[in-house]
Amino acid sequence: MIAYILGRIASLFISLIVASLVIFMVVEVAPGDPAAFMLGVNAKPDTVAALRAELGLDVPKAERYLNWVTGMVQGDFGTSYTYRSPISKMVAERLWVSLPLAIYALILSTLIAFPAGIYAASRRGRIGDLGVMAATQLGVAVPNFWFAMILVLIFAINLGWVSAGGFPGWDKGFWACMAALTLPAIALALPQAAILARVMRSSLLDMLDEDFIRTARAKGLTEGQALWRHALKNALIPVLTILGLQFSFLLAGSIIIEQVFYLPGLGRLVFQAITQRDLITVESVVMLLVFAVIVVNFLVDLTYAVVDPRLRARH
């Protein structure tokens, strides 16, 4: 087990180094000069050159890469070209929106998907199963910005229960923030819940056909008991895979939802930075996201090892 964990930690570091190289190279070939963008159409070439020097863009690329990486290791993510403020501070502020939103959405989607998937599996082929499956079909088929807009039309404009978007800030109270995040979280969670419920159901059904479940049933357990006692635990492996994938999607993939609800989240920061060629911000934030996901994957892998002793035994 310890050897397994050490091996995983080693590959964690290699992954991070490769990721930082890929990010830096991809971002640096993007056309568009941040200084020219900031100064607009009337700027004189010497003004642009002066700003490039001020931003440190005249330093060779290799040197910039090393400075960037060594800075990050020490916790310094650089200073945004356009915002002119420290990236770590901006990311910290945005995380206070994006992280709660991702967790909120993940909880919602799990709360919907687990019961729905288990229910559908237990009613295989019957009307309840068909109903759940039809709902999940619809859930995966509706574009999330479209669904978000309908939520806004109904709950913000017609009913006036919540505001159409924006984020009050945590200093305005916990419940005000939760209210502001509810529609975005639902919009993010429902399609995820539909996918999760489908995976849950199909992996449960696969398990129910397994020999050891049949054995259990032969010993006198009902299908329901077999499902709860044996199938569920084993069916969790593919479900955990999907959950791990979904978390990483939710953390950064909410760009569009953040646009629709004008939330000051991490996704919007990156999107804005890309369009403004705020290269250092794009690099640092993408690196942070990649870091977060690699760590989450690492933890998911450890969970596999705990949940499924067969996997652990192999290592």
Partner: protein, 274 residues
């Protein structure tokens, strides 16, 4: 008629409507889609324009059937990329579990997957220019680790099963075991995931279009039509409803078909039914 067949037929019929009309659009459309006719903009559905016109006065029926070409092609090719590269990698990793091959493949997958897909899609389209081909690449890359991880995870649990052990004792190579015993047993999982990725592909194209990437004008796509319609919902609801329905119906049709195929091909389910 058995239930799987019913799903396949209903789903297949739904999807076929859109696929066929997309194919027909290569030779014929009710109206040309590159003609702008501003005085006739935002007409509701009627006798001349069956599904109305959009904000440039273009025929929405024609736009939807031509747009299907782009949306379906983007999604199909993106899933294809993911399966063709991802599944063999997953099988290989499972066959050589614990070895450096497994480690490199899986860490490589983790690495791709660790990148925020939409951000990278936006970056890719920002560097190489927005467009359908770059959208396919951007969406396709992120399908690879999905299939690789799924395949490996499912294959791993099969490798410890008795029938695989029997095959190993019989001296079959890892390659043959993967092809003859593992792959057939995970097709159901792959089909379910494939339909999910397919619908995600259509939706990802729509999402990219929403932020102004994806297919470029004058090429229509369902995603771009839907994005264009967002601010006009109050003026002309049909403009948003029709491409939205096209997406929903196609995705549902393909998913139904996928479910049916799964029930049909899964040897264990078939066995149980007989």
């Amino acid at each position: 008629m058995t239930r799987p067949w019913r799903s396949i037929l209903i789903g297949g019929a739904l999807a076929a409507v859109f696929v066929l009309s997309a194919l027909i659009s290569y030779v014929w459309t009710p109206f040309p889609i590159d003609g702008v006719d501003i005085p006739n903009k935002l007409r509701p559905p009627g006798a001349t324009h069956w599904l109305g016109t959009d904000h440039y006065g273009r025929d929405i029926l024609s736009m939807v059937i031509v747009g299907g070409r782009t949306s379906l092609a983007v999604a199909v090719v993106a899933v294809g990329i993911g399966m063709v590269i991802g599944v063999p990698l997953g099988l290989w990793a499972a066959a050589r579990r614990g070895s450096w091959v497994d480690e490199v493949i899986m860490r490589g997958n983790d690495l791709i997957f660790a990148f925020p897909s939409l951000v990278i899609a936006i970056l890719i389209t920002g560097i190489f220019g927005a467009g359908a081909v770059n959208a396919i690449i951007a969406i396709g890359i992120f399908n690879i680790p999905v299939f690789a991880r799924l395949t490996r995870g499912a294959a791993l649990s099969l490798w410890s099963r008795d029938f695989v052990l029997a095959a190993r004792v019989a001296g079959k190579s890892s390659l043959r075991i993967s092809a003859e015993h593992i792959l057939p047993n995970i097709t159901s999982l792959l089909i379910v995931q494939g339909t999910i990725q397919f619908s995600l592909g259509i939706l990802a194209e729509a999402g990219l279009s929403y932020v102004g990437l994806g297919a470029q004008p004058p090429t229509p796509s369902w995603g771009r039509m839907l994005a264009d319609a967002q601010t006009m919902v109050a003026l002309a609801p049909h403009m948003a409803l029709i491409p939205g329905l096209a997406i929903v119906l196609t995705v549902m049709g393909l998913n139904l078909m996928g479910d049916g195929l799964r029930d049909l091909t899964d040897p264990r389910i078939r066995m149980q039914r007989t």
